[in-house]
């Protein structure tokens, strides 16, 4: 009886996710159409536009991009929130997570002339994690480090551990996070004021990142200077401690 109840609940959860995904798809399709047309207007596809009108179009396009980001974040948070009981925690080698994630960014790094300096630890460090979800965490932080990092700069990733936790520091030189906004960066839909000129993200945002880490009973913290160094530290429980 319990088995069938569990199967029914999982099916209902999947149905809710599918419905939300369809809704998000519809919303995104219309925003994509706006994005494309606005870009074409800006670039003169429909004839020359006076500068004042062009500036207004740029602002509309940026607002449109923010809405796309919000939908992506909401979609992720919906999936994450509704399936939190479906996190599949197993021992994961942090080196495997990071190596696979870094590989994903080869093209983007090359475009900006940036590098990632990451050295494998001498002994393997296993964390207790849902592999795919924790990879999304590191993907989001590294994505931000590239997006907001200075061209030709190096992103440094250092992994260590203590008795209970793995700690991973991801450091970059870039635009940084304004001091007066640092208290709110983990809030839903937050975007720093100095990041508005950059391409809107398709990722989960720092709010989603923090949610995943907290589901893993981990922690995330950061230090940042505007037009300087930013360091994010992610701590996740070691697998050995969960045995």
């Amino acid at each position: 009886m319990l088995y069938y109840t569990a199967v029914y609940m999982e099916t209902e959860i999947e149905k809710k996710i599918d419905n939300f995904v369809l809704l998000a798809h519809e919303l995104k399709t219309n925003l994509v159409a706006s994005k494309w047309l606005l870009d074409m207007f800006e670039n003169g596809d429909f004839g020359p536009i006076p500068n004042e009108q062009k500036e207004a179009l740029i602002k509309i396009r940026e607002a449109n991009d923010r809405m796309l980001t919000s939908i992506n974040e909401s979609l992720f948070m919906f999936r994450n929130g509704i399936t939190e009981q479906l996190y599949r925690l197993t021992p994961c080698d942090i080196d495997s997570v990071l190596t696979q994630t870094i590989e994903h960014f080869k093209g983007e790094l090359s475009k900006k002339g940036m590098k990632i300096d990451y050295k494998k630890t001498e002994t393997p460090i296993n964390i207790y994690a849902d592999y795919e979800k924790i990879r999304i965490v590191f993907q989001n932080i590294i994505d931000n480090a590239i997006k907001y990092g200075n061209p030709t700069s190096t992103i440094t990733i250092v992994v260590s551990s203590d008795a209970d936790f793995m700690h991973c520091k991801i450091e970059n030189m870039g635009i940084g996070i304004p001091k007066n906004e640092q208290g709110t960066i983990f809030k839903q839909f937050f975007r720093a004021s100095n990041s508005e000129q950059y391409e809107a993200g398709s990722g989960i945002g720092l709010y989603g990142t923090k949610q995943i880490i907290e589901h893993h009973r981990g922690e995330i913290s950061f230090e940042s200077e505007e037009q300087g160094k930013t360091v994010f530290t992610i701590s996740i429980p070691l697998a050995e401690k969960q045995a």
Binding site: H25, T29, A33, D39, N72, I136, S202
Partner: protein, 122 residues
């Protein structure tokens, strides 16, 4: 003139795509159903296919598999052009033989056309 077949269901996006692609000098046609795709392929072979994975009543991944197994289209570059952005979907599409995966909301049409020109070496 390079031939582009866009497999897309949304009428609004189709209109924008056709306008922009034609302006850039492509011979552009769109299709939405298996019948429309077969109709097109009976007349010509595209130089590149843009495939939206979310089509009503059609399994996008199944369609990709069909394109890759059909003698006429097995070597035609396929650019997946989708609002789906999950890692699993991207991995699945590339493993199934897609040439490239572009998330629609991440790119302007100008950037997509640049990618197409790179793939077609023009």
């Amino acid at each position: 003139m390079k031939k582009v077949l866009i497999i897309e269901d949304d009428a609004f996006l189709k209109e924008i795509e056709i306008g922009k692609f034609n302006k850039e000098g492509f011979d552009t046609q769109t299709a939405m159903t298996i019948a429309e795709i077969d109709d097109y392929l009976n007349q010509k072979t595209p130089d590149i296919i843009l495939l939206d994975l979310m089509l009503p009543g059609v399994d996008g991944f199944g369609l990709l598999a069909k394109i890759r197994s059909d003698e006429k289209t097995k070597d035609v570059p396929v650019l997946i052009f989708s609002n789906l952005s999950g890692e699993e979907d991207i991995k699945k599409a590339l493993e199934a033989g897609a040439t490239e995966f572009m998330i629609k909301s991440n790119f302007t049409l100008a950037e997509i056309i640049e990618k197409i020109k790179t793939i077609l070496k023009i």
